[in-house]
């Protein structure tokens, strides 16, 4: 209840413009609830701006669904990446692993077009590709002691190359109607992609906040040496974390296949940067040890809403990029200011 009071107070204060800003921000940003509150406010401000500038084109149920659907693929990737970053690592390969997953799955579907099993294959193959890539990342990083940035950069380049090689740089159209019907279906008026995003987010929230897996992840990111000396098997756990990131990239691959009906090596280009931006804006510390799933989801929604507002107003995408850059810098600056306050949670 005190959070709600805080929200109202902060919102009314935010109309008072510049001179009140530092005090207000400090209050909003201290504590993890407050940090997410800041993101909610940013999102609300974006929605208000969208409604004022684009009217009903923006503020409609269908458009809101579009925004969330647009956010869902990058959202699932970002959620997996959140675990990696909380554990003190980084995964640059998420976008290209997703691309590889779509290529392998669409080719497999063509090979198996005559059989009944291809529907299941198109779900299982991307997951398998993602897990395999994550396993390689994790083993190279944890047991090979390769810096995560370099190991996953190598995977980014390598997976992209592999996808190009096996697809012959051709886009593979998916004609498996059962799969397409499934992925493009809606449940109670909400598209399946959004349901997947929602379910992944909820599962991830429980995983991070309520399980030993989550606790180990936060502990390792908070102090790797202390975790090791407390008896946690740090290396093994890091492998699991990268596998999880690969798995979410695989899930995103299935979603991408459904949305675009095509597998191509260019899918997921630069997604790693969008995902990192969303995770960091969502309040996860790049040095590890602290982060939230709710924050990441809000981070993704902020960026997709921003894109939508710009598109609805027919504004230049370059201006949009500049705005995105500003948001990232401001978020990180705020993070640094408030980083050492309060324990982690939610």
């Amino acid at each position: 209840m005190s959070e709600r009071d805080g929200a109202i107070a902060a919102q009314s204060d935010s109309h008072n413009e510049a001179e009140n800003h530092p005090g207000v921000l400090r209050r909003i940003m201290s504590g993890s609830v407050g940090r997410n509150l800041g993101l909610v406010i940013a999102l609300v401000v974006l929605v208000i701006v969208g409604t004022i500038t684009a009217g009903d084109r923006f503020a409609s149920y269908d458009n809101f669904l579009t925004i969330i659907r647009f956010a869902s693929i990058i959202g699932v990737i970002s959620i997996g990446l959140t675990f990696v970053i909380i554990a003190g690592g980084i995964d640059l390969s998420v976008g290209s692993v997703m691309g590889l997953a779509t290529v392998v799955a669409s080719l497999a579907a063509v090979q198996a077009a005559a059989t009944q099993s291809s529907w299941i294959l198109m779900v299982l193959i991307p997951l398998g590709v993602g897990i395999a890539a994550g396993l390689v990342n994790g083993i190279v990083i944890a047991y090979g002691n390769v810096v995560a940035f370099m190991a996953t950069l190598a995977m980014l380049v390598g997976a992209r190359g592999l996808a190009e090689l096996i697809s012959g740089r051709r886009t593979q159209i998916v004609i498996e109607t059962g799969f397409l019907q499934f992925t493009r279906s809606s449940i109670i008026g909400v598209p399946l992609l959004i349901w997947v995003f929602l379910i992944v987010a909820i599962v991830a929230w429980f995983l991070l906040n309520r399980t030993t897996f989550g606790r180990r992840t936060v502990a390792i990111g908070g102090n790797r040496e202390a975790s090791r000396l407390a008896g946690i098997r740090v290396k093994r756990h890091l492998v699991y974390v990268y596998v999880l990131s690969g798995l979410t990239a695989g899930i995103a691959g299935i979603m991408m296949l459904g949305r675009t009906t095509a597998g191509t090596s260019t899918h997921g280009g630069l997604y790693e940067l969008d995902a990192i931006a969303a995770v960091v804006v969502g309040g996860t510390l790049l040095i590890g040890g602290r982060g939230t799933i709710v924050g990441t989801v809000l981070g993704v929604l902020i960026f997709s809403t921003l894109t939508n507002v710009f598109t609805q107003n027919n504004l230049d995408t370059s201006v949009q990029s500049i705005t995105k850059g500003l948001i990232i810098v401001v978020a990180v600056l705020l993070q640094q200011r408030f980083a050492t306050r309060g324990p982690s949670g939610t």
Partner: protein, 506 residues
Amino acid sequence: MIDDDHPEPLLMVHGITKAFAGVQALKGVDLEVRAAEVHCLLGQNGAGKSTLIKVLSGVYQPDAGVIRWQGDEVSIIHPVFALGLGIATMYQELDVVEGLTIAENIFLGHERASGGMLKVKEANRAARALLVRLGHGNLSPGTEVGRLSAANKQIVSMARALSHDTKLIIMDEPSAVLDSEEVRNLFRVIRELTAQGVAVVYISHRLEEIRQIGDRITVIKDGSSMSVGLSVADTPTADLITLMTGRAVANVFPDRVPVAADAPVLIDVQGLSLRGHFSDVNLSVRAGEIVGLAGLVGSGRSEILETIYGARKASGGRVRVSGVRLTAGSVNDAVRAGIGLAPEERKSQGLILDEQVYRNVTLSTFARFARGGFLDERRERQLALEQMQALELRPADPDRATRTLSGGNQQKVLLARWLLHGTKVLLLDEPTRGVDVGARAEIYALIRRLSAAGTAIILVSSEIEEVIGLADRVLVIGDGEVLTTTDAHAIDERGVLDLVMKGAAA
């Protein structure tokens, strides 16, 4: 203090005090250094030597006291100001940039350049002159420093000190990283410097070295100078040790509980070795017994604990806990067998400072509070809180960020962690480092209580007094060897110091 027949001292320091967050590091230090002398600064770990050096080199500002430099009162407000005066400091951790050449390191921060363009030839020439002055003309100024030995890096560091117009060089334990041949060479260099009129403040706790190189000695103990400018030649070693150690110790150590004759051996270490650090360590600890490892920093004490624990992989020997042999290099194995470590660097190795206290208490046990991977946090918090209360951890707030606790209470978090785990063998590395005097007695009582309850404890401390006061048996460690094993009541602080200093001088 100044003899009439001596000229005005180069540096006069009087009544310097310095406190950090309520801890009085310096309580009033006097020092007087004359030109062209080697002035030794002697004192135990934590006596305040490092703080004093940092005051002299402008890193810290003293709270009170006077510094006179060549007769004039100065306040050394910044390290660059110290260099301007002619005071250069060589820190223990060599501050060279490995990727740069010798010449580039020497002129780092005051590069020979005009209009932003480096004058490489001139720098190399000047660097060579400095190296020759130090008797190391064989080193080429263009060599990358990363390829040099520790001894030669030290020469580079010294050349850098001389590249300013230096009248006083402070050397913080320069011999710590050197072998005996290199130490002899270092002494030759120091003598050349003093012959050129440069004064040296030399810090070491190796008495034999001080005998060889020192002119006068200032002894520091517990933040105060015990003697100022004693002549090395006229002061017997025994007097120096008394000055270093002879504090009136309040009896803070609780009474020993005799170990039961039939107490089982909980941990047995045979022939344990770690290449490059220590070799052939044998020890066994029974339930209710405390075994202390005494020795200087770098003697291998901490490495022994870490190797027993599996944090470092032994190159030889074995560890058995209650008769079961542990896998070398597996912390997880050690923890499951019932060993717990409270590491030396509590903050970087022991705790997740930004996490809540209860999560640090349960860091080794949280998986027990889970069913099917899902944590029962209520029970976890409750059991953590019970341990915190049993150890009188203050404040007993499980949700507080661990960073905000005092050193003593952070130590209790680690002890609570292992108590909750049900640890049978506790390895304590510097359990009172960064713990203030009042809380120390409490930690001591706690260690005794754990021991009386049947825990086997291995204790490492650089405070010899602490080891002797707490332990039932003491192993004196010097240069990676067990020099002697003895009952704690059969040895005193001086006896230990005698042993380790003889060992170190050899």
